[in-house]
């Protein structure tokens, strides 16, 4: 048997059937180089999978539009002009989201939809469909970790149903903005759950964010962020890797 690198890949993935596993293990007993490669490959797989998804530069979209439109001396395609209008509309929607909650709530919800489409893979969080549930609980660090570990990976933006103690969407916008302020406006994934409770005796908003390794895939990282309700200061954060 030559070095069975393809089967060793399956072995590291844990997808070999018993019969093939036995053959590969027999080879491993006689081949020191494969044993060494296997040990490194096991660590290498875990390391590669630990790499986070990065956000593209903010001007990438504009650069693509500009280059596709005129960079090669061709006439701008029709979508180029449309893209300009869409980008302007997106800016307006983002501003609408950032404004205090004075207008029609439904408009804010629609703005949330549009922003989600634009930034879905970038992990922007919106208050869309996430309703604050009020709990009479005083959380500690361990309970926060439990909350992160117990996150449902499929609980993306749309999942949490209105809780019994739903205190309305206006409050959920306030809570979302408060947590995002505590995070310096850098949400750590997609907002999946919002709780108004206490943390170590202090009134707090607790937000659960989910991050997925790519568009359309189940989330693999849950982060719980806690902000003080009175001044929106950052109190703590706990995160957990979710198994597939």
């Amino acid at each position: 048997m030559n070095h069975p690198y393809d089967l060793l890949a399956d072995l590291v993935d844990g997808t070999l059937d018993e019969e093939t596993l036995a053959e590969v293990q027999a080879h491993l007993r006689t081949c020191a180089s494969c044993r060494e490669d296997l040990a490194y490959a096991t660590a290498g797989r875990a390391a590669a999978r630990s790499l986070p998804q990065e956000s593209p530069p903010a001007d990438l979209h504009e650069r693509i539009v500009r280059e596709a439109g005129g960079g090669r001396g061709r006439a701008a395609p029709a979508w180029y002009r449309w893209a300009g209008a869409a980008a302007a509309a997106a800016v307006v929607l983002v501003i609408a989201l950032a404004l205090p909650d004075v207008g029609d709530d439904a408009d804010v919800q629609r703005a949330g939809d549009a922003a989600t489409t634009e930034d879905a893979a970038g992990g922007a969080a919106t208050a869309d469909d996430v309703v604050v549930s009020v709990e009479d609980t005083d959380y500690d660090e361990a309970e926060l970790r439990e909350l992160a570990l117990g996150a449902d990976q499929r609980a993306t933006l749309s999942a949490p149903a209105a809780a019994e103690a739903d205190v309305g969407r206006a409050n959920s916008n306030t809570a979302t903005r408060c947590v995002e302020r505590a995070l310096d406006e850098r949400p750590v994934g997609q907002l999946a759950r919002l709780i108004q409770a206490r943390f170590l005796g202090r009134d707090a908003y607790i937000a659960l964010y989910l991050e997925s390794p790519g568009a359309g895939q189940a989330a693999d990282l849950a982060t719980v962020v806690v902000a003080a309700t009175d001044d929106c200061s950052f109190l703590t954060l706990a995160s957990a890797r979710l198994s597939p």
Binding site: Y5, D6, L7, A9, D10, L11, V12, D13, G14, T15, L16, D37, L38, A39, Y40, A41, T42, A43, G44, A46, A47, A48, R49, S50, L51, P52, Q53, E54, P56, P57, L60, H61, R63, I64, E67, A68, G71, R72, P77, W79, Y80, R81, W82, A83, A86, T117, E118, A120, A121, G122, R186, P213, G214, A215, Q217, L237, S239, R241, S243, P244
Partner: protein, 198 residues
Amino acid sequence: VDPHDADEGLVQRFQEGNAGAFEELVARHSTRVYNLCLRILGDPDEAADASQDTFVSALRKLHSFRGEAAFTTWLHRVTVNACYDSLRRKRRRPMLRVITDEDDDRPEPPLPSPDHADQVVLSIDVAAALAQIPEEFRIALVMADVEDLPYEEIAGVLGIPVGTVKSRVFRGRAALGKALGVRGGEPTPASQASEEEA
């Protein structure tokens, strides 16, 4: 454009003259394309350039897309080709470059919190180690383990047999572990559990 349309539906609508459909495809896939380029090329500026080339190239070729492969497979192929072009250009360029003041002004990668500091340092190490491993192993490894694409799809993107993809992925993983100087225990069939600790 309906954001719930499947990619292939958007492609068809673009071919029928709906200009907004391509825009939606760019919005939907630019993060994934950028990350694939970033992990293959190892440099954010080069990754942004290659992402731009990918979409410009895709725009030019999209009229002839006939749906014989899934759109994502097709787009990954265009992306990998843009990365190969970038790597070829880099090989032709002299290694010397002028260090400017701008280099010092680059922001450090953000540290979200002290709890995450180790994790961020590890990501930087992994990204640097990844850049050291041979190109053909790296490309297969990035698609399999960073982008989490199935081996069959990678085989379609690269135009090579599935067995060859797996061999390259395995050798890429081993090279990455060696570059990092870390070894793991022999995996059990439920080896995925080890990722939680990673």
